[in-house]
Assembly symmetry: D2
Homo-oligomer: 411 residues x 4
């Protein structure tokens, strides 16, 4: 009953500038940016690609449209989570959006980790260049051999050896680790044994991408695409050594760090998904009033009115739910906000997938092709139903939060 | 981006009092109130029923918890539509809720009509007793012989004859017209012919329930129940005469009146449906942690976690959408608010029906019986998918509003 | 790959006669039959009701259209389950259908029980008059105080006392027990204790409806309707005594009897539901080509083409699945057929409910009223999602059958 | 009521051999076959790929497991459509399946066209090598500039010039045209003008892939994958000349040929989709009994029982519907069978997509990767909702067939 999703006037002005840049300067370059996939070594940027991306970044930075994600820091604009949500939606309209404004995952989450828990050296080596958009980073969590939906299964070995830790094991779906600019990883490892409580057996370690013993086995494909030059890498660690101080916060505190990291990140992901759903709905509507079949506008055929109306209704509801989750987050009680984050984590990708799929259907075969951004949007959003916990795990969280109102019993 | 769903502190205090009275004083009397269906003539209140209902009304009125619906009038509390929405949800938790606080449909809409367009006589005869909760009223719109989803089909004849109008035709689904306290009808009639624009052919007429020529043909049943002593009547008008001044606002202005009437009414209906969905979810959760089968709590069986989580996610979204529609309404641009009203008109009943149905399933056969309120809630909410325009008509409105962003063409 | 859903030519001829009688002789009398609900004592047949029903029964019997359910007996027509399925669909088109041909539940199941396990006395007292359509019977399974979805919870006490058994406890949802012609009950009781295997603790007992100690507490309502004069009774047993021979087959064999009883019964229920879905689709189509709104036939508006197409596709699939379950049944391996029965038990009612609901929506407010049979069809079919095991239990059976292909482990 | 889905014993024996070969000889080579994507020129077969594919083909042919699709010809096995459907399901379990047995689209349809309407030269040049599996072919229908869902929009120009026809225009989604073995195209063109009836303006022309003036513009991507070395080509025709006899059957008879071509082809597609759904369900079940999370088998978590049960129920129903469509086809009345083909065209891909998507979700991130066949299956089946008419067009056909039962009016 105190819910307020309004943003301050000066922030609204800023948002309009982001929105304009997204629509008028970034989106028009999208096709060119993506068309130029390098032959041969796909894991590099062509000169033209680099020019487009770095040019847009420079422009954004000059305009002060940079690092919005620093929601509560003196270094950023000082957006609330609710305010940031609106920015995330706008940036989400195009795949380049987040990076142009230096607000892209997993860098934002990693930067937060460095800021809160990093040593001075880490801040200098990794945080500063990340804040400047000079390097990129990856977050290594998921492993091929265990069900990572239950993160307590994570098994990568990390053993203390004098002043160092030695890491062994495999990680996959290291998003962005294929990017030639990716310089550092934050890695979830297992440091504790069965004697310790389930959520105190794991730690987070900072590992330079160039550390000896790291082998990039292959890019993981997403519905057949390798997402070069960015990509999701399958990586093997063989006796990778890092200084002991690279273990963040202390042994066994990995989940503590992860929790703080994931809340806002999920809201960003979800609002970006809403941005994509809006793009899909716009494409669908434009198509339906331009194209004809059977003597009528496509809009007037079959269930298309209903499809469009349902899309609008679902997007509105999903957005409002995200804003509510953001508002809960802003109230400062992470525990109370958690089930709301879980709710949007389920809802927003599902809505976006459904709307994008409907738009694809409205475009016919063109919809699944490289000529419209819909297919790429779909596969990207599809990964969100798995990343940071599959739907089923989040539904479980929501249900348990609901049932706790009526029983003390642990269900 | 200016969205604010907060309510003022003094209003919140009021809301808490309503909420407490609903839960602690009204709901406990529900079973007793409904159990006592009079045998023989079902269209009357038994002494005990009257005592319960009028007693609660008197209490509410004494406490100043009365006529909240007067959202923008000096006579009411002066709630905004957003604020009222929260009250509607609370009152919606029980079938008696709205009436106890004199906020029940169709009286609220009818009172608004009397207040805005009524003569001094009408205000004295009908508005005052309605504001006091002494009489009730009905709104006669739908007709058996035409598709009322397209309200321009309405055909009841209304012909000027000197100082009078003469009405002939049939109306049905006159909700509340079976109530022995129902004293007056507002009736949509056709006064114009084909020469006039489609939306200027109809008028609204005030008709006393006792006017000669009115015959109550039968109660319409809702899934087999007659909803006595309230009920939905099928009524025939044969040469029913009213003074010419009983035609409100002027010939051909029926739709103009209807539009103003329906917006807030739909929000109230929808928020009451949300209230019922919350009750259903609560019942479902309580059942699922109390009852056992196959050696486990029902909550732990099958897809029940998912069912509970989905219910929570859908209710939250539907509520937020209703609040947004209310907020749009408060901004004063009825035309801009219209598609939002249509959105909630589709969404809220569907969500409530789904949650109630799931709750019924969780209760087993008891769920469809008179022992729990779920079945009655379901049939009541089911009527909302038809009343004030079926889903299909509202989806069409939403789609057309969406497409207008991209084309001038009328689709 | 051996699947054959064909029926023999002579049976097809019989089916056509049933179909004709349903459409041309029974359905035209439906409205009159149901309109006449007796005032005062609702649990009796008016003279006109009795005349209609008994007249139709006499006609059917004369024509040899009688007791089709006797699928594999020398006394019946000797239909296979597949063949009977087609008859059930036809009879299911109208609520009177099954009874007119003496194929109504729960009598058919009860007759089978008497035939297989009954004593000579029982056959004479109950089976013969049931086969003649002179009396009716009820099947008392569900209890108010336990989750009957897990039938091993059933708790009605049945204690041997010399040559008699003494029954104590409550049953509810005794369908048909309100019918004044209902003369006998088959009752599931608990005879064993914790020492015995879970499925050998229960027995079935034959109890005359007139036995001292039986009290009909009240009719259970289905969405507000009492289904008089047939009805679902809540019944209390206080020291009800029956001869020991009334316990069928032996103590602890209740589930053995129930299993044999439920398989075909579920197929009949499901095919009757398909019959109702067909009626709903026909009503929907007729309405949509007759009624106009917004200047077009309703069929041409909104998503109605899709709604009609989806209804057709779902009905076809559900019918074929029922036929497959029937065909599995005919192969004689009840254990192999069980998951198929569970499948249709979930699918058929859901499809019927969806189609009926869509038809209701297409009819507008008339759809939920007494003027079309849709609302009554809906509430009737809704009970099928609970009777004989709720959906969740049957889905569980289907899933476990599937998983057994890949693991020995009991899940 | 005459429905019979049984297959002859000798055919069943043949089917078992196909099924065994699919599971034991083809599927084990799948990973190796697909892993080896040639770098550089992707539109060729590596030696190892060719060896695998041609080896399997030779084996199949030797065993007489070849050209099953010749359903009613003296040259084939003489399968009925129902019988062939079972084979299509088995072959559909693996992407190589259909080709190994020389039953792959679009070659089967093209071969039928050559057989029915081809000249002696065509039979010699194209039909024989196709029957032998020596070359491949493509079918060019869809165009980039028109809504091909309404095939009367097809616009490629084809003008008579002496003894030749001259073709100009663009086609896309020419499936298989990227295959280096693809030697011939069947092309839908427009030969008539507005004066002629809508369905008599088009013709089919046979065009050698090497004809001067043909330019392969690019491969169309399907969700980011180019499906090399097979692929879907975007092709431009500039003054492509063919002998006049290459126009099949006569000017204006294109749709006549297309109709005969599409019916069985759609059944094959749908049954192959069922085969894929079965593979997905099997993978899902195996995963769910092998993998653990939160201390239990995945099968036992959340809604997984329901997901598995629903998958089984939907697959069964979709298969039965396909068999019914096949059976309708076998009855010889193509017009009567048409709405059944439309039904399965909507149902089978949707069911397969849903089951595959659920399987992907059960596998977590691995599900969308190259490590399991699910993602590739999903994108493949997704194209079926667009190819040969989008869902909306087929639903419309089904609805109109339904409504024709009740009205003469053309809707």
């Amino acid at each position: 009953m105190d819910m307020n999703f309004a943003i301050r006037p000066e922030i609204k002005e800023l948002l309009v500038r982001v929105s304009d840049m997204v629509r008028n300067e970034i989106m028009p370059l999208e096709v060119e940016y993506h068309a130029e996939i390098p032959k041969g070594n796909r894991w590099q940027f062509t000169a033209r690609q680099a020019a487009i991306l770095e040019g847009l970044k420079a422009t954004a930075r000059e305009r002060g449209l940079w690092n919005f994600w620093l929601t509560d820091s003196a270094r950023g604009v000082g957006l609330s989570t609710v305010e940031y949500a609106y920015f995330a939606e706008e940036m989400g309209r195009t795949p380049m959006g987040a990076e142009v404004f230096n607000c892209n995952a997993p860098d934002t989450g990693n930067m937060e980790v460095f800021e809160r828990y990093g040593t001075a050296t880490m801040r200098q080596n990794w945080l500063e260049p990340l804040l400047n958009g000079d390097i990129r980073s990856a977050y290594l969590m998921t492993e091929p051999d265990v069900a990572s939906s239950d993160a307590t299964n994570i098994a990568m070995s990390c053993v203390r050896d004098g002043d160092e830790y030695v890491l062994n094991g495999e990680k996959w779906w290291a998003t962005g680790a294929g990017d030639p600019r990716c310089a550092v990883y934050i890695v979830m490892v297992r440091t504790g044994d069965e004697d310790q409580p389930k959520h105190q057996r794991h730690s987070m370690v900072v590992v330079p991408a160039t550390a000896p013993g790291i082998e990039k086995l292959r890019p993981m494909q997403v519905y057949g695409a390798d997402d070069a030059p960015h990509g999701h890498m399958h990586i093997r660690f063989v006796d990778v050594r890092v200084p002991a101080e690279n273990l963040l916060l202390g042994e066994g505190r990995g989940f503590e760090i992860a929790q703080g990291r994931l809340g806002p990140g999920r809201i960003h992901h979800c609002m970006r998904a809403i941005g994509q759903a809006e793009v899909a709905l716009e494409l669908m509507c434009r198509r339906s009033v331009e194209r004809e079949a059977f003597g009528r506008k496509i809009a007037q055929l079959g269930a298309n009115f209903d499809i469009i109306a349902n899309a609008r209704m679902k997007i509105e509801q999903a957005r409002l739910l995200c804003l509510k989750a953001a508002w809960m987050m802003d109230r400062g009680d992470a525990r109370a906000a958690a089930p709301w984050i879980s709710q949007i984590k389920v809802v927003a990708p599902q809505v976006a997938l459904e709307v994008i799929d409907q738009a694809i259907q409205m475009f016919g075969a063109q919809g699944i092709s490289q000529d419209v951004p819909l297919a790429a949007m779909w596969t990207h959003v599809r990964t969100l139903r798995l990343a940071d916990g599959p739907d089923a795990v989040h539904r479980r969280q929501v249900a348990r939060a609901e049932l706790r109102k009526y029983t003390q019993q642990k269900l």
